[in-house]
């Protein structure tokens, strides 16, 4: 493959490239000898990889279809409703029907807007949302490309989404859109910092940016998962998860598209298929950040027991990811929305200092326990437990307390 694709982009996976092995062991024996003699393994590998990528690109957009339906069903359950029930059995085809509706809707382009950028923006967001999936390991060998710099690549690509958002907001020539896109840009740029810093704690412990290596370092069962490895990664997980909710603009951080404030934010003026692209991208993002959180902190495709990876760990990975997605939905249908200044305060005054503290703590932890031992993990789990109890006593008390009943005088 070396003479066709830039090799630096791919890591040399120590255990050997699965695609190469596949070609070597399965494809070439099948070929007639005359062909096989001239058949380069590398070329075959690239073909296989392209095919996989094709399947991926075909399959991944189906995710949002499922997730949209899931969101509606989850919301319905939260609200004592049934959700969509008419299209298909239990409403399973509802999203498809909505998609068809959106395709046939008028594709409105604001006449005063910037037409070129207006048309371009959804594609940028859509493309970036899906490019992220290339680096997410779904299973032991289920991965589009084992990038050397996997997690860094993901951050890079997802930071481009901001450009699409600004483009959409600006080119619509609507003040609500502009306000939404400015909010969104400020929010995403701000929350990228705690996000990145939380990732850094993981990278410090693992010593690699490669997603597969991060997963590999968590292969010793539940307590080798990075979330439990040190108390600091435990905090980092929550910062990461909350920041990623902010990154994907979901309640309580959905200010860029706060329908009760700025109508629909940056995609106010979009309709039809272009709106659907934003919509799909939003759900793809949601899945992507959950998948990343699962990979970084929850052992990725590695199971709870060491060495147990059913179907390459794929089902386990999907379950973990969907659990996080469900958590996001749960939050969305429970919480109100923050205000802009509160959002920024949360990021700059709480998350970033805590994230820096985490890095410091992780560094010190790494010095004290260079290797993960039973002792280090036990200490970590005990600290986490104590910390949780303490946090509940400090923060939870306020929640459990009832506000003073309003004075009443007859």
């Amino acid at each position: 493959m070396s003479d066709i694709l830039p090799e630096g982009f791919f890591a040399q996976v120590p255990a050997g490239n699965w695609a190469e092995e596949f070609v070597q062991n399965v494809v070439i024996p099948q070929l007639p000898e005359a062909v096989a003699a001239h058949f380069s393994v590398a070329f075959g590998t690239v073909l296989v990889m392209f095919a996989c990528a094709g399947i991926f690109v075909g399959l991944v957009p189906l995710l949002p279809l499922v997730l949209v339906l899931a969101e509606r069903k989850v919301a319905a359950r939260f609200q004592n409703r049934t959700g969509p029930m008419r299209v298909g059995p239990w409403g399973t085809l509802q999203t498809l029907a909505d998609g068809v509706k959106l395709i046939f809707k008028e594709d409105y382009i604001p006449p005063q807007g910037d037409k070129f950028l207006f048309l371009l923006a959804p594609y940028i967001i859509f493309a970036c949302s899906f490019a992220v999936f290339a680096a997410i390991p779904f299973g032991q060998n289920i991965l589009v490309s084992p990038f050397n710099i996997g997690i860094f690549y993901i951050m890079a690509i997802s930071s481009v989404i901001v450009m699409g958002v600004i483009m959409a907001g600006w080119s619509s020539n609507s003040k609500w859109s502009l306000l939404g896109s400015l909010r969104s840009a400020a929010q995403i740029v701000s929350y990228e910092i705690p996000l990145g810093l939380s990732i850094l704690t993981v990278v410090m412990l693992v010593g690699s940016l490669n997603m597969q290596e991060i997963v590999a370092s968590q292969s010793n069962g539940l307590f080798s998962w990075l979330i439990f490895r040190t108390p600091f990664t435990f905090i980092a997980f929550f910062i990461f998860f909350i920041s990623s909710i902010a990154e994907v603009n979901r309640t309580p951080f959905d200010l860029p598209e706060a329908e009760s404030e700025i109508v629909a934010g940056f995609h106010t003026e979009y309709s039809g298929m272009r709106f659907a692209l934003f919509f799909i991208a939003e759900y793809a993002n949601m899945f992507a950040v959950s998948a990343i959180a699962a990979t970084l902190f929850l052992g990725g495709w590695e199971g709870i027991l060491p060495g147990y990876d059913f179907l390459g760990g794929f089902p386990g990975f999907v379950i973990k990811t969907l659990a996080l997605v469900f958590l996001m939905m749960w939050l969305r249908w429970t919480l109100p929305r923050l205000r802009v200044d509160q959002l920024m305060n949360l990021c700059w005054k709480y998350f970033i200092p805590i994230a820096f503290f985490n890095i410091l703590g992780t560094g010190i932890w790494g010095l004290i326990f260079p290797e993960d031992t039973l002792i280090s993990i036990s200490i970590s789990c005990v600290l986490i437990y104590v910390g949780l109890i303490g946090a509940y006593n400090v923060a939870g008390r306020g929640l459990a307390q009832k506000p003073q009943p309003q004075a009443s005088s007859a």
């Binding site: 309640t251 309580p252 009760s260 109508v263 919480l335 506000p403 003073q404």
Partner: protein, 401 residues
């Protein structure tokens, strides 16, 4: 006579390089509760000025009233505050009845049974109205679920109203001199006891839910962050702006017409008037959005209390309608105010002794409360504007009439 001296509308000069962005919030906006238009002058997210423009729902109530007989006006009052139409009917009927009572030649009095029914139904309507306010306030602040919870419960109330008068939103149930009978939707489908049982069932179902809603929204820390300390309306300011009802009590003024100037039979019931207090745990201060919101949550409990007292007593026997041949108040004029869910609903009626009024002015609580918006919103953020509008709980049908 034409004096057009001040009629020209203000023309906003376009200043291309100003820091200020002028944004039109509404009349078509998800959270302006109808068709309110706000002209926002923004500095980034900070609101320098929010100028309300109303009148998009002006239905010429006062002009219509001059050409209609008194009973014919009642359906028009339904359309004023369409989420608490019973109270609007009642407010108007009370004013007309007061004028009729002033006529010595008649011996006019509203029957007991009708009074009980009115209180019962209006308190239920107050719950429905506050529920809507609670739900939409949650939605304004980004929490969608309270909205559906509120609508689920409101639906049950609307079904009760439908059983009583056949309508779900614009009831025309309370008439001058009484109420229209409890009308069976189909023969034999509902009786008085049957109906009261259903009301009781609803109360049993609903009362614990208020606490649940408090858990869900009122005590939510994001919600209290968003609403506490925002747009504090002092008691003086509230009085000066004519804010009434929950908005006035939210500013710490202990005032409720039902208790302080009892009309109808409110003096027979025991109920508390919730008044805002500082809640330091949440950061709530008297007069902020949270206080105004909380008053409504607490008022629902008091309404339940009143309805329960009626249910315990049972409706007195007798007619539901006074023997009133024609509604023809004596020559005179009268202003009467009653406590509607959104505050004091006043009707000023000038009668010249004919069946049609000379002048009807509806003094709607939201109209006065909304005028405080401009002062309340200065220096706050766009999101706070939404929080204020929700907390003063406007219904544009009432503002614009």
């Amino acid at each position: 006579m034409e004096t057009t001296q001040q009629t020209e509308s203000k023309i906003i000069e376009l200043q291309p390089f100003a820091d200020e962005m002028v944004v039109n919030m509404g009349p078509q906006h998800p959270s302006t509760h109808g068709v309110l238009r706000l002209e926002l002058k923004l500095d980034g997210e900070v609101v320098r000025e929010a100028i309300p423009h109303i009148g998009y729902l002006h239905r010429c109530f006062e002009k219509h009233s001059e050409n209609l007989s008194y009973p014919q006006i009642i359906p028009f009052t339904d359309r004023m505050d369409y989420v608490a139409a019973m109270n609007q009917n009642w407010g108007f009927c009370l004013a007309v009845e007061k004028l009729l009572e002033a006529d010595e030649k008649r011996n006019f009095a509203v029957p007991e049974r009708a009074e009980y029914l009115r209180v019962l139904i209006c308190e239920l309507n107050r719950i429905a109205s506050h529920l809507l306010s609670f739900g939409t306030y949650g939605m304004d602040l980004g929490a969608f679920t309270p909205f559906l919870y509120a609508f689920r419960d409101r639906e049950k109330l609307l079904l009760l109203f439908e059983k009583v008068c056949g309508a779900r939103l614009t009831y025309n149930y309370i008439r001058i001199g009484g109420v229209s009978e409890i009308i069976p939707m189909e023969p034999g489908s509902i009786t008085e006891q049957n109906f009261l049982d259903e009301v009781e069932q609803f109360l049993d179902y609903f009362e614990p839910l208020i606490d649940e809603y408090n858990e869900l929204l009122t005590k939510n820390s994001i919600f209290s962050e968003r609403t506490t300390g925002v747009a504090v309306m002092s008691a003086e300011m509230a009085l000066s702006y004519g804010a009434t009802g929950p908005n006035l009590r939210g500013s710490g003024v202990d005032w409720d017409l039902r208790r302080d100037e009892p009309y109808s039979i409110y003096d027979r019931f025991a109920f508390d008037v919730p008044v805002a207090m500082n809640v330091p745990e949440l950061g709530a201060v008297v007069g902020d959005c949270w206080s105004r919101y909380k008053i409504r949550m607490d008022e629902m409990k008091q309404s339940i209390r009143i309805v329960r007292q009626i249910l315990a007593e049972g409706l007195p026997d007798g007619p539901v309608m006074a023997d009133l041949k024609a509604v023809r108040p004596p020559k005179g004029e009268l202003y009467f105010r009653s406590e509607a869910p959104r505050g004091e609903l006043g009707f000023y009626i000038v009668s010249d002794g004919t069946p049609k009024p000379v002048r009807v002015k509806g003094r709607s609580p939201c109209f006065s409360a909304l005028s405080a918006l401009q002062e309340l919103s200065q220096g706050l953020m766009v999101a706070d504007i939404i929080a204020i509008i929700g907390s003063i709980d406007i219904v544009m049908g009432e503002v614009d009439r």
